[in-house]
Protein backbone atom coordinates (compact mmCIF):
# COMPACT_ATOMS: atom_id res chain seq x y z
CA UNK A 1 0.00 0.00 0.00
CA UNK A 2 1.43 3.42 -0.90
CA UNK A 3 2.48 5.58 2.00
CA UNK A 4 1.54 8.84 0.30
CA UNK A 5 -1.28 9.66 -2.04
CA UNK A 6 0.67 12.38 -3.87
CA UNK A 7 4.31 12.12 -2.92
CA UNK A 8 5.68 14.91 -5.11
CA UNK A 9 3.39 17.41 -3.36
CA UNK A 10 3.30 15.93 0.14
CA UNK A 11 7.09 15.69 0.28
CA UNK A 12 7.96 18.74 -1.86
CA UNK A 13 10.90 20.95 -0.88
CA UNK A 14 10.02 24.32 0.67
CA UNK A 15 11.28 26.01 -2.49
CA UNK A 16 9.04 23.92 -4.75
CA UNK A 17 6.03 24.49 -2.52
CA UNK A 18 6.52 28.25 -2.34
CA UNK A 19 6.93 28.53 -6.09
CA UNK A 20 3.71 26.61 -6.63
CA UNK A 21 1.86 28.62 -3.99
CA UNK A 22 3.07 31.94 -5.35
CA UNK A 23 1.95 31.09 -8.85
CA UNK A 24 -1.46 29.86 -7.74
CA UNK A 25 -1.95 32.78 -5.34
CA UNK A 26 -1.30 35.46 -7.96
CA UNK A 27 -3.69 33.73 -10.37
CA UNK A 28 -6.42 33.43 -7.75
CA UNK A 29 -6.11 37.04 -6.62
CA UNK A 30 -6.39 38.23 -10.20
CA UNK A 31 -9.44 36.04 -10.74
CA UNK A 32 -11.32 37.17 -7.65
CA UNK A 33 -10.49 40.81 -8.37
CA UNK A 34 -12.03 40.44 -11.81
CA UNK A 35 -15.01 38.27 -10.90
CA UNK A 36 -16.08 39.22 -7.39
CA UNK A 37 -17.12 42.86 -6.89
CA UNK A 38 -16.89 42.46 -3.12
CA UNK A 39 -13.20 41.52 -3.23
CA UNK A 40 -12.43 44.22 -5.79
CA UNK A 41 -14.01 46.84 -3.58
CA UNK A 42 -12.10 45.64 -0.51
CA UNK A 43 -8.78 45.53 -2.37
CA UNK A 44 -9.37 48.96 -3.86
CA UNK A 45 -10.17 50.34 -0.41
CA UNK A 46 -6.88 48.91 0.85
CA UNK A 47 -4.97 50.20 -2.17
CA UNK A 48 -3.94 46.71 -3.32
CA UNK A 49 -3.86 45.78 -7.00
CA UNK A 50 -3.71 42.18 -8.27
CA UNK A 51 -0.23 42.86 -9.71
CA UNK A 52 1.02 43.66 -6.19
CA UNK A 53 0.56 40.02 -5.25
CA UNK A 54 3.42 38.15 -6.88
CA UNK A 55 4.41 35.67 -4.19
CA UNK A 56 3.42 34.18 -0.87
CA UNK A 57 5.39 36.96 0.84
CA UNK A 58 2.83 39.47 -0.50
CA UNK A 59 -0.10 37.68 1.13
CA UNK A 60 -0.23 39.98 4.16
CA UNK A 61 -1.03 42.95 1.88
CA UNK A 62 -4.48 41.52 1.28
CA UNK A 63 -7.42 42.32 3.54
CA UNK A 64 -8.94 39.60 5.74
CA UNK A 65 -12.28 37.98 5.08
CA UNK A 66 -14.45 37.19 8.10
CA UNK A 67 -17.63 35.20 8.64
CA UNK A 68 -19.69 38.38 8.64
CA UNK A 69 -18.57 39.04 5.04
CA UNK A 70 -20.08 35.69 4.10
CA UNK A 71 -23.32 36.64 5.78
CA UNK A 72 -23.34 40.09 4.17
CA UNK A 73 -22.96 38.59 0.71
CA UNK A 74 -25.34 35.67 1.36
CA UNK A 75 -26.09 33.62 -0.65
CA UNK A 76 -23.87 33.92 -3.74
CA UNK A 77 -22.07 37.24 -3.39
CA UNK A 78 -18.57 35.74 -3.00
CA UNK A 79 -18.89 33.15 -5.77
CA UNK A 80 -16.21 33.66 -8.42
CA UNK A 81 -17.80 31.67 -11.26
CA UNK A 82 -21.22 31.80 -12.93
CA UNK A 83 -23.71 29.54 -11.17
CA UNK A 84 -23.86 27.38 -14.31
CA UNK A 85 -20.34 26.20 -13.39
CA UNK A 86 -21.33 25.28 -9.84
CA UNK A 87 -22.12 21.57 -9.45
CA UNK A 88 -22.66 21.37 -5.69
CA UNK A 89 -23.72 23.52 -2.74
CA UNK A 90 -23.11 22.89 0.95
CA UNK A 91 -24.20 25.01 3.91
CA UNK A 92 -22.85 25.45 7.39
CA UNK A 93 -25.09 24.33 10.20
CA UNK A 94 -25.44 27.86 11.47
CA UNK A 95 -24.81 26.82 15.08
CA UNK A 96 -23.02 30.08 15.74
CA UNK A 97 -25.27 32.35 13.71
CA UNK A 98 -27.03 32.62 10.37
CA UNK A 99 -26.21 29.86 7.93
CA UNK A 100 -23.76 30.39 5.09
CA UNK A 101 -23.65 28.68 1.73
CA UNK A 102 -20.58 27.50 -0.21
CA UNK A 103 -20.26 26.17 -3.77
CA UNK A 104 -18.00 23.86 -5.75
CA UNK A 105 -17.21 23.50 -9.46
CA UNK A 106 -16.47 20.09 -10.89
CA UNK A 107 -12.78 20.82 -10.48
CA UNK A 108 -13.27 21.93 -6.86
CA UNK A 109 -14.87 18.56 -6.13
CA UNK A 110 -11.82 16.87 -7.69
CA UNK A 111 -9.51 18.85 -5.40
CA UNK A 112 -11.62 17.93 -2.41
CA UNK A 113 -11.43 14.23 -3.30
CA UNK A 114 -7.66 14.60 -3.68
CA UNK A 115 -7.13 16.13 -0.23
CA UNK A 116 -9.36 13.55 1.45
CA UNK A 117 -7.51 10.80 -0.42
CA UNK A 118 -4.28 12.12 1.12
CA UNK A 119 -5.87 11.94 4.58
CA UNK A 120 -7.18 8.40 4.11
CA UNK A 121 -3.83 7.22 2.74
CA UNK A 122 -2.04 8.81 5.70
CA UNK A 123 -4.38 6.89 8.02
CA UNK A 124 -3.28 3.67 6.35
CA UNK A 125 -6.38 3.37 4.17
CA UNK A 126 -6.52 2.17 0.58
CA UNK A 127 -8.54 0.20 -1.93
CA UNK A 128 -8.76 -2.87 0.28
CA UNK A 129 -10.46 -0.96 3.08
CA UNK A 130 -14.10 -0.72 4.05
CA UNK A 131 -14.66 2.89 5.00
CA UNK A 132 -17.60 3.44 7.31
CA UNK A 133 -18.72 7.07 7.02
CA UNK A 134 -20.74 8.06 10.09
CA UNK A 135 -20.65 11.79 9.47
CA UNK A 136 -23.98 13.33 8.55
CA UNK A 137 -24.77 13.32 4.85
CA UNK A 138 -26.45 16.36 3.41
CA UNK A 139 -25.63 20.04 3.52
CA UNK A 140 -22.96 19.34 6.15
CA UNK A 141 -19.65 18.74 4.38
CA UNK A 142 -18.56 15.84 6.62
CA UNK A 143 -20.46 12.94 5.09
CA UNK A 144 -20.14 13.65 1.38
CA UNK A 145 -16.59 14.96 1.79
CA UNK A 146 -15.24 11.74 3.28
CA UNK A 147 -17.48 9.70 1.00
CA UNK A 148 -16.05 11.01 -2.26
CA UNK A 149 -12.49 10.82 -0.96
CA UNK A 150 -13.02 7.21 0.14
CA UNK A 151 -14.27 6.31 -3.32
CA UNK A 152 -11.32 8.15 -4.83
CA UNK A 153 -8.84 5.88 -3.07
CA UNK A 154 -10.89 2.92 -4.29
CA UNK A 155 -12.06 1.84 -0.86
CA UNK A 156 -15.39 0.10 -0.37
CA UNK A 157 -17.38 3.03 0.93
CA UNK A 158 -20.26 2.53 3.37
CA UNK A 159 -22.44 5.68 3.57
CA UNK A 160 -24.04 4.98 6.96
CA UNK A 161 -24.47 8.64 7.98
CA UNK A 162 -25.46 9.44 11.58
CA UNK A 163 -27.94 7.81 13.93
CA UNK A 164 -29.29 4.37 14.76
CA UNK A 165 -26.19 3.37 16.65
CA UNK A 166 -27.16 -0.26 17.19
CA UNK A 167 -27.61 -0.70 13.44
CA UNK A 168 -24.25 0.98 12.83
CA UNK A 169 -22.60 -1.62 15.00
CA UNK A 170 -24.34 -4.48 13.21
CA UNK A 171 -23.22 -3.03 9.88
CA UNK A 172 -19.71 -2.57 11.18
CA UNK A 173 -19.56 -6.19 12.25
CA UNK A 174 -21.36 -7.76 9.28
CA UNK A 175 -19.87 -5.63 6.49
CA UNK A 176 -16.38 -5.68 7.98
CA UNK A 177 -15.76 -1.92 8.32
CA UNK A 178 -12.04 -1.24 8.74
CA UNK A 179 -11.95 2.56 9.00
CA UNK A 180 -14.50 4.63 10.90
CA UNK A 181 -15.07 8.28 9.98
CA UNK A 182 -17.11 10.26 12.53
CA UNK A 183 -16.93 12.94 15.18
CA UNK A 184 -14.76 11.84 18.12
CA UNK A 185 -17.69 12.14 20.53
CA UNK A 186 -19.74 9.81 18.34
CA UNK A 187 -16.84 7.33 18.27
CA UNK A 188 -16.95 7.21 22.07
CA UNK A 189 -20.70 6.84 22.00
CA UNK A 190 -20.30 3.91 19.60
CA UNK A 191 -17.76 2.35 21.94
CA UNK A 192 -20.22 2.60 24.85
CA UNK A 193 -23.03 1.13 22.81
CA UNK A 194 -20.73 -1.69 21.74
CA UNK A 195 -20.17 -2.53 25.37
CA UNK A 196 -23.89 -2.40 26.12
CA UNK A 197 -24.71 -4.68 23.20
CA UNK A 198 -22.11 -7.11 24.49
CA UNK A 199 -20.10 -6.90 21.27
CA UNK A 200 -16.38 -7.24 21.88
CA UNK A 201 -14.10 -4.99 19.84
CA UNK A 202 -12.33 -8.14 18.59
CA UNK A 203 -15.49 -9.04 16.67
CA UNK A 204 -14.93 -5.93 14.53
CA UNK A 205 -12.29 -5.43 11.88
CA UNK A 206 -11.78 -1.76 12.66
CA UNK A 207 -8.14 -0.68 12.50
CA UNK A 208 -8.32 3.09 12.24
CA UNK A 209 -10.61 6.06 12.66
CA UNK A 210 -10.59 9.48 11.04
CA UNK A 211 -12.21 11.88 13.46
CA UNK A 212 -12.96 15.58 13.18
CA UNK A 213 -15.57 18.35 13.09
CA UNK A 214 -15.08 19.14 16.78
CA UNK A 215 -12.07 19.74 19.01
CA UNK A 216 -10.85 16.75 21.04
CA UNK A 217 -8.02 16.19 23.45
CA UNK A 218 -5.11 13.73 23.50
CA UNK A 219 -6.76 12.03 26.44
CA UNK A 220 -9.92 11.52 24.44
CA UNK A 221 -7.79 10.09 21.64
CA UNK A 222 -6.22 7.61 24.05
CA UNK A 223 -9.65 6.58 25.26
CA UNK A 224 -11.03 6.03 21.75
CA UNK A 225 -7.93 4.08 20.72
CA UNK A 226 -8.20 1.86 23.76
CA UNK A 227 -11.94 1.27 23.67
CA UNK A 228 -12.19 0.58 19.95
CA UNK A 229 -8.74 -0.98 19.55
CA UNK A 230 -7.84 1.35 16.67
CA UNK A 231 -5.46 4.13 15.78
CA UNK A 232 -7.31 7.46 15.83
CA UNK A 233 -6.38 10.15 13.30
CA UNK A 234 -7.45 13.75 13.47
CA UNK A 235 -8.78 15.55 10.42
CA UNK A 236 -9.49 19.25 10.11
CA UNK A 237 -11.55 21.37 7.84
CA UNK A 238 -14.27 23.94 7.58
CA UNK A 239 -16.96 24.33 4.95
CA UNK A 240 -15.89 27.87 4.13
CA UNK A 241 -12.50 26.62 2.94
CA UNK A 242 -13.46 23.20 1.57
CA UNK A 243 -14.88 20.90 4.23
CA UNK A 244 -12.91 18.12 5.94
CA UNK A 245 -9.48 17.47 4.49
CA UNK A 246 -7.94 20.94 4.75
CA UNK A 247 -5.46 19.27 7.12
CA UNK A 248 -4.95 15.66 8.17
CA UNK A 249 -2.89 13.62 10.53
CA UNK A 250 -0.23 11.03 9.63
CA UNK A 251 0.91 7.99 11.63
CA UNK A 252 3.18 10.21 13.72
CA UNK A 253 0.08 11.84 15.31
CA UNK A 254 2.06 14.98 15.97
CA UNK A 255 -0.10 17.60 14.31
CA UNK A 256 -2.08 17.82 11.09
CA UNK A 257 -0.46 18.33 7.69
CA UNK A 258 -2.13 21.14 5.79
CA UNK A 259 -2.66 20.59 2.06
CA UNK A 260 -0.88 23.89 1.56
CA UNK A 261 -0.70 23.50 -2.21
CA UNK A 262 -4.43 24.33 -2.06
CA UNK A 263 -4.83 26.29 1.18
CA UNK A 264 -2.12 28.65 2.43
CA UNK A 265 -2.21 28.94 6.22
CA UNK A 266 -1.14 31.91 8.34
CA UNK A 267 -1.27 32.48 12.08
CA UNK A 268 -2.27 35.95 13.22
CA UNK A 269 -2.73 37.81 16.44
CA UNK A 270 -6.54 37.83 16.75
CA UNK A 271 -6.52 41.32 18.28
CA UNK A 272 -4.13 43.17 15.96
CA UNK A 273 -4.28 41.07 12.79
CA UNK A 274 -0.49 40.97 12.74
CA UNK A 275 1.07 37.83 11.20
CA UNK A 276 2.86 35.72 13.83
CA UNK A 277 5.92 33.54 13.28
CA UNK A 278 5.79 29.74 13.15
CA UNK A 279 5.59 28.16 16.57
CA UNK A 280 3.52 30.95 18.08
CA UNK A 281 -0.11 30.34 18.95
CA UNK A 282 -2.72 32.50 17.29
CA UNK A 283 -5.74 32.54 15.01
CA UNK A 284 -5.55 30.37 11.93
CA UNK A 285 -6.17 32.10 8.59
CA UNK A 286 -6.53 30.35 5.22
CA UNK A 287 -6.31 31.49 1.62
CA UNK A 288 -7.70 29.17 -1.06
CA UNK A 289 -5.41 29.18 -4.08
CA UNK A 290 -6.99 26.58 -6.35
CA UNK A 291 -10.69 26.76 -5.66
CA UNK A 292 -12.80 28.12 -8.47
CA UNK A 293 -16.32 28.60 -7.13
CA UNK A 294 -15.69 29.91 -3.62
CA UNK A 295 -12.08 30.95 -3.16
CA UNK A 296 -11.79 32.72 0.18
CA UNK A 297 -8.89 35.11 0.65
CA UNK A 298 -7.28 35.35 4.09
CA UNK A 299 -10.30 33.86 5.83
CA UNK A 300 -10.18 34.11 9.59
CA UNK A 301 -11.22 30.70 10.94
CA UNK A 302 -11.43 31.74 14.64
CA UNK A 303 -9.59 28.49 15.41
CA UNK A 304 -6.58 28.87 17.68
CA UNK A 305 -3.57 26.86 16.46
CA UNK A 306 0.19 26.77 16.01
CA UNK A 307 2.10 26.07 12.76
CA UNK A 308 5.17 23.89 12.62
CA UNK A 309 7.43 23.56 9.58
CA UNK A 310 10.11 21.04 8.68
CA UNK A 311 10.13 17.43 7.62
CA UNK A 312 7.87 15.20 9.71
CA UNK A 313 8.95 11.73 10.80
CA UNK A 314 6.46 10.41 8.24
CA UNK A 315 8.51 12.06 5.49
CA UNK A 316 5.96 14.71 4.58
CA UNK A 317 7.04 18.33 4.37
CA UNK A 318 3.53 19.80 4.33
CA UNK A 319 3.35 22.35 7.13
CA UNK A 320 1.68 21.01 10.28
CA UNK A 321 -0.93 22.67 12.45
CA UNK A 322 -1.00 21.56 16.04
CA UNK A 323 -4.47 20.58 17.21
CA UNK A 324 -6.72 23.59 17.51
CA UNK A 325 -6.76 24.53 21.18
CA UNK A 326 -10.27 25.74 20.78
CA UNK A 327 -11.96 28.51 18.88
CA UNK A 328 -11.85 32.17 19.60
CA UNK A 329 -15.64 31.93 19.78
CA UNK A 330 -15.56 28.77 21.98
CA UNK A 331 -13.30 30.48 24.42
CA UNK A 332 -15.08 31.38 27.61
CA UNK A 333 -14.00 34.29 29.68
CA UNK A 334 -14.82 33.38 33.25
CA UNK A 335 -13.81 35.84 35.98
CA UNK A 336 -11.49 37.39 33.43
CA UNK A 337 -9.68 34.11 32.74
CA UNK A 338 -9.64 32.57 29.26
CA UNK A 339 -10.99 29.03 29.45
CA UNK A 340 -11.29 26.50 26.65
CA UNK A 341 -13.60 23.53 27.23
CA UNK A 342 -10.81 21.30 25.87
CA UNK A 343 -8.62 22.22 28.87
CA UNK A 344 -11.28 20.98 31.25
CA UNK A 345 -11.70 17.81 29.24
CA UNK A 346 -7.96 17.16 29.53
CA UNK A 347 -8.09 17.59 33.29
CA UNK A 348 -11.02 15.22 33.67
CA UNK A 349 -9.54 12.51 31.51
CA UNK A 350 -6.12 12.80 33.14
CA UNK A 351 -7.68 11.78 36.47
CA UNK A 352 -8.24 8.32 35.08
CA UNK A 353 -11.56 7.29 36.51
CA UNK A 354 -13.79 10.15 35.44
CA UNK A 355 -16.04 9.82 32.42
CA UNK A 356 -15.48 11.99 29.35
CA UNK A 357 -19.09 13.15 29.50
CA UNK A 358 -19.23 16.60 30.94
CA UNK A 359 -20.92 19.91 30.51
CA UNK A 360 -19.91 23.35 31.66
CA UNK A 361 -22.59 25.63 33.02
CA UNK A 362 -21.48 29.23 33.18
CA UNK A 363 -23.67 31.74 34.91
CA UNK A 364 -23.52 35.11 36.59
CA UNK A 365 -24.75 35.44 40.15
CA UNK A 366 -24.63 38.88 41.81
CA UNK A 367 -22.23 40.09 39.10
CA UNK A 368 -19.88 37.19 39.76
CA UNK A 369 -19.18 34.59 37.13
CA UNK A 370 -19.76 31.03 38.24
CA UNK A 371 -18.57 27.83 36.65
CA UNK A 372 -20.23 24.53 37.34
CA UNK A 373 -18.86 21.35 35.81
CA UNK A 374 -21.37 18.55 35.54
CA UNK A 375 -19.77 15.15 35.17
CA UNK A 376 -21.51 11.87 34.65
CA UNK A 377 -20.54 9.45 37.35
CA UNK A 378 -18.60 6.48 35.98
CA UNK A 379 -18.84 2.96 37.45
CA UNK A 380 -15.22 3.34 38.62
CA UNK A 381 -16.06 6.47 40.56
CA UNK A 382 -19.21 5.32 42.27
CA UNK A 383 -18.94 3.96 45.75
CA UNK A 384 -21.39 3.35 48.52
CA UNK A 385 -20.38 6.17 50.82
CA UNK A 386 -20.96 9.89 50.58
CA UNK A 387 -17.48 10.45 51.98
CA UNK A 388 -15.82 8.77 48.99
CA UNK A 389 -17.91 10.62 46.45
CA UNK A 390 -17.20 13.95 48.10
CA UNK A 391 -13.51 13.12 48.10
CA UNK A 392 -13.65 12.50 44.36
CA UNK A 393 -15.43 15.81 43.83
CA UNK A 394 -12.69 17.52 45.79
CA UNK A 395 -9.94 15.88 43.74
CA UNK A 396 -11.56 17.06 40.51
CA UNK A 397 -12.15 20.51 41.95
CA UNK A 398 -8.51 20.85 42.98
CA UNK A 399 -7.24 19.60 39.60
CA UNK A 400 -9.47 22.04 37.70
CA UNK A 401 -8.46 24.93 39.92
CA UNK A 402 -4.77 24.26 39.57
CA UNK A 403 -5.07 24.07 35.76
CA UNK A 404 -7.42 26.97 35.12
CA UNK A 405 -6.69 29.16 38.09
CA UNK A 406 -10.38 29.60 38.83
CA UNK A 407 -12.72 27.80 41.17
CA UNK A 408 -15.41 25.54 39.82
CA UNK A 409 -18.30 23.78 41.42
CA UNK A 410 -18.29 20.07 40.64
CA UNK A 411 -21.60 18.34 40.33
CA UNK A 412 -21.80 14.61 39.76
CA UNK A 413 -24.78 13.56 37.68
CA UNK A 414 -26.32 10.22 36.76
CA UNK A 415 -24.99 8.27 33.76
CA UNK A 416 -26.34 9.24 30.33
CA UNK A 417 -28.08 12.35 31.53
CA UNK A 418 -25.88 14.84 29.69
CA UNK A 419 -27.24 15.26 26.17
CA UNK A 420 -25.37 13.05 23.69
CA UNK A 421 -25.85 14.55 20.34
CA UNK A 422 -25.05 12.06 17.66
CA UNK A 423 -23.15 14.82 15.96
CA UNK A 424 -21.41 17.44 18.02
CA UNK A 425 -21.30 17.33 21.79
CA UNK A 426 -22.82 20.30 23.62
CA UNK A 427 -20.08 21.18 26.09
CA UNK A 428 -21.04 24.61 27.25
CA UNK A 429 -24.21 26.25 28.45
CA UNK A 430 -23.50 29.90 28.98
CA UNK A 431 -26.43 31.42 30.81
CA UNK A 432 -24.80 34.84 30.84
CA UNK A 433 -25.67 35.32 27.17
CA UNK A 434 -28.90 37.09 26.55
Amino acid sequence: MPKYWNESIECATPYEMQALQSFRLSQTVRRVYENVPYYRKRMDENGVKPEDIKSVADLSKLPFTVKQDLRDTYPYGLFAVPMSEVVRLHASSGTTGKQIVVGYTENDIEIWKEVIARAITAAGGGKDDFIHVSYGYGLFTGGLGLHYGAEKVGATTIPVSVGNTARQITIMRDFGSTILCSTPSYALYLAETLKEMGVDKSELKLKAGIFGAEPWSEEMRAEIQEKLGIKAYDIYGLSEIMGPGVAFECEDQSGMHISEDHFIPEIIDPDTGEVLPDGVQGELVFTCITKEAFPLIRYRTRDIAVLERGQCRCGRTLVKMLKPRGRTDDMLIIKGVNVFPSQIESVLLSLGNTSPHYQLIVDRVNNNDTLEIQIEISPEMFSDTVKNLEEQENIIKAAVESTLGIAAKIRLVEPKTIARSEGKAVRVIDKRKK
Binding site: D384, V386, E390, E414, T417
Partner: protein, 143 residues
Amino acid sequence: MLIKQLSVFVENRPGRLSSITKLLGENDVDIRALSIADTRDFGILRLIVNNPDKALEVLKGADYSVTLTNVIAIGIEDKPGGLAKAMEVLYQNGISVEYMYAFISKTDNTAFVILRVENSENAADVLQKNGIKLLTSEEIYKM
Protein backbone atom coordinates in the same frame (compact mmCIF):
# COMPACT_ATOMS: atom_id res chain seq x y z
CA MET B 1 -23.83 -13.94 57.31
CA LEU B 2 -23.41 -11.00 54.95
CA ILE B 3 -26.31 -9.39 53.17
CA LYS B 4 -26.11 -7.73 49.76
CA GLN B 5 -27.24 -4.16 49.79
CA LEU B 6 -27.85 -2.14 46.62
CA SER B 7 -26.52 1.39 46.53
CA VAL B 8 -27.84 3.67 43.81
CA PHE B 9 -26.53 7.12 42.86
CA VAL B 10 -29.47 9.52 42.74
CA GLU B 11 -29.33 13.12 41.62
CA ASN B 12 -31.37 15.60 43.60
CA ARG B 13 -34.03 16.21 40.99
CA PRO B 14 -37.77 15.65 41.09
CA GLY B 15 -38.99 12.21 40.07
CA ARG B 16 -35.82 10.20 40.58
CA LEU B 17 -37.06 8.11 43.51
CA SER B 18 -40.37 7.64 41.82
CA SER B 19 -38.78 6.19 38.70
CA ILE B 20 -36.40 3.88 40.59
CA THR B 21 -39.10 2.42 42.83
CA LYS B 22 -41.49 2.09 39.92
CA LEU B 23 -38.86 0.21 37.91
CA LEU B 24 -38.22 -2.18 40.79
CA GLY B 25 -41.94 -2.72 41.32
CA GLU B 26 -42.52 -3.53 37.67
CA ASN B 27 -39.81 -6.16 37.89
CA ASP B 28 -41.25 -7.82 41.02
CA VAL B 29 -38.46 -6.66 43.26
CA ASP B 30 -39.72 -6.33 46.82
CA ILE B 31 -38.06 -3.74 49.04
CA ARG B 32 -37.32 -4.92 52.59
CA ALA B 33 -35.62 -1.83 53.93
CA LEU B 34 -34.16 1.40 52.62
CA SER B 35 -32.36 4.55 53.59
CA ILE B 36 -31.04 7.61 51.82
CA ALA B 37 -27.84 9.46 52.50
CA ASP B 38 -28.23 12.92 51.08
CA THR B 39 -25.97 15.82 50.21
CA ARG B 40 -26.96 19.04 48.53
CA ASP B 41 -26.66 17.73 44.99
CA PHE B 42 -27.01 14.00 45.16
CA GLY B 43 -27.98 11.13 47.38
CA ILE B 44 -27.16 7.48 47.75
CA LEU B 45 -30.22 5.29 47.97
CA ARG B 46 -29.48 2.09 49.88
CA LEU B 47 -31.85 -0.82 49.48
CA ILE B 48 -32.28 -4.27 50.92
CA VAL B 49 -34.48 -6.27 48.55
CA ASN B 50 -35.68 -9.85 48.08
CA ASN B 51 -33.60 -10.36 44.93
CA PRO B 52 -30.51 -8.10 44.84
CA ASP B 53 -28.97 -9.64 41.71
CA LYS B 54 -32.09 -9.09 39.68
CA ALA B 55 -32.48 -5.55 41.02
CA LEU B 56 -28.87 -4.83 40.06
CA GLU B 57 -29.45 -6.04 36.54
CA VAL B 58 -32.69 -4.06 36.13
CA LEU B 59 -31.15 -0.82 37.43
CA LYS B 60 -27.98 -1.18 35.38
CA GLY B 61 -30.12 -1.84 32.34
CA ALA B 62 -31.80 1.51 32.93
CA ASP B 63 -28.38 3.27 33.12
CA TYR B 64 -28.31 3.85 36.87
CA SER B 65 -25.00 3.92 38.70
CA VAL B 66 -25.50 1.07 41.11
CA THR B 67 -23.27 -1.18 43.16
CA LEU B 68 -23.63 -4.07 45.63
CA THR B 69 -22.17 -3.66 49.11
CA ASN B 70 -21.91 -6.28 51.86
CA VAL B 71 -23.66 -5.28 55.07
CA ILE B 72 -24.75 -7.15 58.19
CA ALA B 73 -28.24 -7.40 59.59
CA ILE B 74 -28.83 -7.99 63.27
CA GLY B 75 -32.02 -8.80 65.10
CA ILE B 76 -32.63 -7.22 68.50
CA GLU B 77 -35.47 -7.14 70.92
CA ASP B 78 -37.78 -4.21 70.21
CA LYS B 79 -37.56 -2.55 73.62
CA PRO B 80 -35.62 0.32 75.23
CA GLY B 81 -31.91 -0.50 75.42
CA GLY B 82 -32.14 -3.25 72.77
CA LEU B 83 -29.84 -1.52 70.34
CA ALA B 84 -27.49 -0.27 73.02
CA LYS B 85 -26.19 -3.76 73.72
CA ALA B 86 -25.13 -4.33 70.14
CA MET B 87 -23.49 -0.92 69.91
CA GLU B 88 -21.62 -1.56 73.13
CA VAL B 89 -20.17 -4.79 71.67
CA LEU B 90 -18.96 -2.98 68.57
CA TYR B 91 -17.52 -0.14 70.62
CA GLN B 92 -15.67 -2.50 72.99
CA ASN B 93 -14.14 -4.20 69.98
CA GLY B 94 -13.05 -1.00 68.28
CA ILE B 95 -15.43 -1.39 65.31
CA SER B 96 -16.81 1.84 63.94
CA VAL B 97 -20.08 2.07 62.06
CA GLU B 98 -20.12 3.85 58.67
CA TYR B 99 -23.91 4.01 58.70
CA MET B 100 -26.91 2.06 59.84
CA TYR B 101 -30.66 1.99 59.52
CA ALA B 102 -33.42 -0.04 61.13
CA PHE B 103 -36.77 -1.61 60.41
CA ILE B 104 -39.16 -3.65 62.54
CA SER B 105 -40.60 -7.08 62.01
CA LYS B 106 -44.14 -7.63 60.85
CA THR B 107 -44.60 -10.71 63.02
CA ASP B 108 -42.81 -10.76 66.35
CA ASN B 109 -41.26 -8.29 68.71
CA THR B 110 -37.96 -7.98 66.85
CA ALA B 111 -36.27 -4.96 65.33
CA PHE B 112 -33.66 -5.32 62.63
CA VAL B 113 -30.68 -3.12 62.07
CA ILE B 114 -28.60 -2.98 58.88
CA LEU B 115 -24.99 -2.09 59.64
CA ARG B 116 -22.20 -1.06 57.37
CA VAL B 117 -18.79 -1.34 59.01
CA GLU B 118 -15.25 -1.34 57.73
CA ASN B 119 -14.70 -5.09 58.13
CA SER B 120 -18.04 -6.86 57.94
CA GLU B 121 -16.78 -10.38 58.57
CA ASN B 122 -14.91 -9.48 61.69
CA ALA B 123 -17.89 -7.51 63.00
CA ALA B 124 -20.22 -10.43 62.28
CA ASP B 125 -17.98 -12.78 64.31
CA VAL B 126 -17.73 -10.44 67.25
CA LEU B 127 -21.47 -9.81 67.38
CA GLN B 128 -22.33 -13.50 67.21
CA LYS B 129 -19.85 -14.38 69.93
CA ASN B 130 -21.60 -11.86 72.14
CA GLY B 131 -25.00 -13.39 71.58
CA ILE B 132 -26.38 -10.93 69.05
CA LYS B 133 -28.52 -12.62 66.44
CA LEU B 134 -27.41 -12.16 62.85
CA LEU B 135 -29.79 -12.63 59.98
CA THR B 136 -28.84 -14.68 56.93
CA SER B 137 -29.59 -13.41 53.49
CA GLU B 138 -32.25 -16.11 53.05
CA GLU B 139 -34.05 -14.90 56.14
CA ILE B 140 -34.05 -11.35 54.84
CA TYR B 141 -35.09 -12.21 51.30
CA LYS B 142 -37.99 -14.41 52.52
CA MET B 143 -39.15 -11.98 55.14
